[in-house]
Symmetry: C2
Subunit: 423 residues, 2 copies
């Protein structure tokens, strides 16, 4: 008799191919059916059995012999409908779909709980890096209250290249597109949507309270200038797109994605190119950093296959598998508005080279409750001065008012950049 | 009726206290008994119930109501005997005891398997860093073939301080002893025993083949000079005590602990002071690095409590708990002798300032099959020259012969240092 656990795949692109290849070495697992967009497409898989393919995802999720469905197609529909149907059919789910989890995680996890199946999604956040399973299991004794993460390889590649080459965002984006590291329409990456999807789910798991994607503040990297890179470097920082989530003492969550100046003393400052990294702070563990490849055929397959193996290990052993890996957070986190948050800032200003302009900017800071940590007038060209300010911690709303004041001030030609600084 | 899972602790020192405090917040867990060396010792735990204490470890391991024993005393005996008795009594084991696992892991894991209990030991290697559970679960689809790790905080603290301050090993050791980072008898740390215990167990788990502690090659940090730090820095390296394990293509294991020059492009080069980090390379995941606090009351408690919670989550749910976390490697790894290994080397030599001395050293290299990557004559004092050689990959036995030749050569005053270089 055939005792193999039957798996259905939805999607056989980069990640799906990696999962297919990796699962071949496990004798107790059989890929029984694979839903693809186009059966005729040429596949780069050796000895591939094309009879497994179907163009109808419902053939996978309704197949009675399949016990685990791995959804690797991405996007909200039809993935959402297919996964719901699979759960109703009592199949366990493994998914790499960060957008779906960020937008519909609550409904999916509730449905899974009601049907006594698990949804695992290690591959959805930071690719091959062990993250979700460690948080749910070996770190389960912790109260995690802070996450700082680089979870988008495209933007980290662009920022690293801008730093190394002193080149503009536009030039490096084009290069990244040529190399396949950035998509033709790069918005999802460079405007921070991808990172925001990931931090939404990661913060929900880590804090044990549901974060809503629409409450995640988001800024992209398109306005970062090579000059900002250079100035940051000189002051001991690297500029990174940071997905950040913090819980304050009252249990309110501050979750956001935006560029930050990261001190070179932090591990995240040294995470370059397409590598991802996540720094978690909690009690009792303290601060840990997990880093590695955040995307790609094989790293992502590692996480998908790890999830599948965890399910396989307990199917047949118990009717209530993987109790620690279940998710039943129903409480929504109370959120802190970005305007209320306290931040340290880097500001680059071009001003007229008037006598006393630094004093004037200093005064405007004070009038807006902003305490200056350092202020430097760096170069003078065409009778213009470049001024760089680093502030102490101050309130976002005060900073926004200060920037408005600056923009209206006669001595200021332009506020070039406003970037938050990690402390 | 009382449905709490009863835990017995053996040891209530630094780690034990952290575990005790951390477990207080879990309503479903009760610490039922604690074995200590001296019941009368003053404890820094609030509202501590002294009636839980016993000076007889067998009162813990023989207590029929206790389901999990956490052994936090360290050392081989009486820990070994107590744990064996606990296993025979069908109790699950959580331990932070790296020495015991390295020396008696095989016997203990076999006994556990025979008695259908698990032994978990996340805290035994790299303190609070999630490592063992991720390898056993989410990374289970991987073939891991390389580990490079900083797993001893004391030596990493000493090497970091030597680097930052340019101070001698002896001076920094004394400072570390004053601060409690090094023991009065520092041998276990500075000679690499502690790191060797850890890499023995880590490599066994990662490779799925049993490594014997006595086959792990080991060199400590006592001979590292501030000059070596300085030269390494100038050439783009940091000196770290690296616990290393590699599997070659024939499945033979090369496991060792010794100082290495680590390129600054590697994450491990930036792991400073008492922080630990482990870089794993495998397929399909690629290279991941996990870093964080390697010791201390609370980080270690995080891992012990994580292990306890994993057991608790499945007790009562199934009779065969945590199938992925079991260990039944019976095959001993075939080992590669250190003399057979290929390494890149840093060599510091003081020679007489004869004409042609660099040429002579270059010739001796060639005669010993050693290819030179760079050779620099750095300073001349008292008619002596300081010569630094970095080699290409060459065989350890050839290098040892070369060093013998150098020591007998008339133009060589002293071979100051021989340190392997990570590639």
């Amino acid at each position: 008799m055939d005792n193999k656990i039957k798996i259905g795949l939805i999607g056989l692109g980069t990640v799906g191919s990696g999962v297919y290849k990796t699962l071949q070495k496990f004798d107790n697992i059989e890929i029984a059916k694979i839903a693809v967009h186009n059966k005729k497409k040429k596949r780069s898989i050796e000895n591939f059995d094309e009879s497994l393919l179907t163009e109808d995802g419902y053939e996978v999720v309704n197949d009675p012999q399949i016990q685990i469905v791995a959804e690797l197609m991405g996007g909200c529909e039809p993935a959402f409908s297919l996964i719901k149907q699979a759960i109703l059919n009592k199949k366990h789910i493994v998914t790499a779909n960060k957008e779906l989890l960020a937008k519909h995680g609550e409904e999916l996890f509730k449905l899974a709980q009601d049907n006594n199946v698990v949804i695992l999604y290690e591959a959805a956040i930071a690719g091959g890096i062990p993250l979700i399973m460690p948080i749910k299991t070996i770190l389960a004794g912790n109260k995690i209250n802070k996450i700082k993460a680089i979870v988008n390889g495209t933007t980290n590649y662009i920022l690293t290249k801008m730093d190394v080459q002193g080149a503009s965002y536009e030039d490096i984006l084009r290069e990244a597109q040529d190399l396949g590291y950035a998509e033709t329409n790069p918005t999802g990456d460079v405007e921070g949507f991808d990172a925001a999807y990931k931090i939404t789910t990661l913060a929900t798991i880590a804090f044990g309270k549901r974060i809503k994607f629409e409450n995640v503040y988001r800024e992209g990297i398109t306005k970062i200038r090579p000059q900002d890179m250079k100035l940051a470097n000189e002051m001991g920082y690297k500029i990174k797109l940071i997905a950040s989530a913090e819980l304050d003492e009252d249990g309110r969550a501050d979750v956001r994605v935006h560029p930050m100046l990261v001190p070179k003393t932090k591990t995240l400052a040294h995470i370059d190119y397409v590598t991802n990294a996540v720094t978690l702070t909690g009690h009792p563990v303290g601060e840990i950093t997990l880093s590695g490849p955040g995307a790609g055929e094989f790293p992502t397959a590692s996480s998908v296959v790890g999830d599948i193996l965890a399910i396989v290990s307990e199917i047949g052993v118990t009717d209530y598998i993987l109790p620690m890996m279940r998710c039943s957070h129903s409480e929504n986190a109370q959120m802190i508005e970005i305007s209320e948050t306290m931040n340290k800032y880097y500001i680059s200003i071009t001003s007229k080279n008037n006598i006393g302009v630094i004093g004037r900017i200093g005064n405007l800071c004070a009038e807006n409750n902003i305490s200056v940590s350092s202020i430097v007038q760096k170069e003078i060209k065409n009778n213009c001065a470049d001024i760089t300010v680093i502030t102490e911690l101050c309130k976002e709303i005060d900073m926004q008012n200060f920037i408005k004041t600056l923009n209206q001030d006669n001595s200021v030609i332009e506020v070039n950049s406003l970037i938050r600084v990690q402390i």
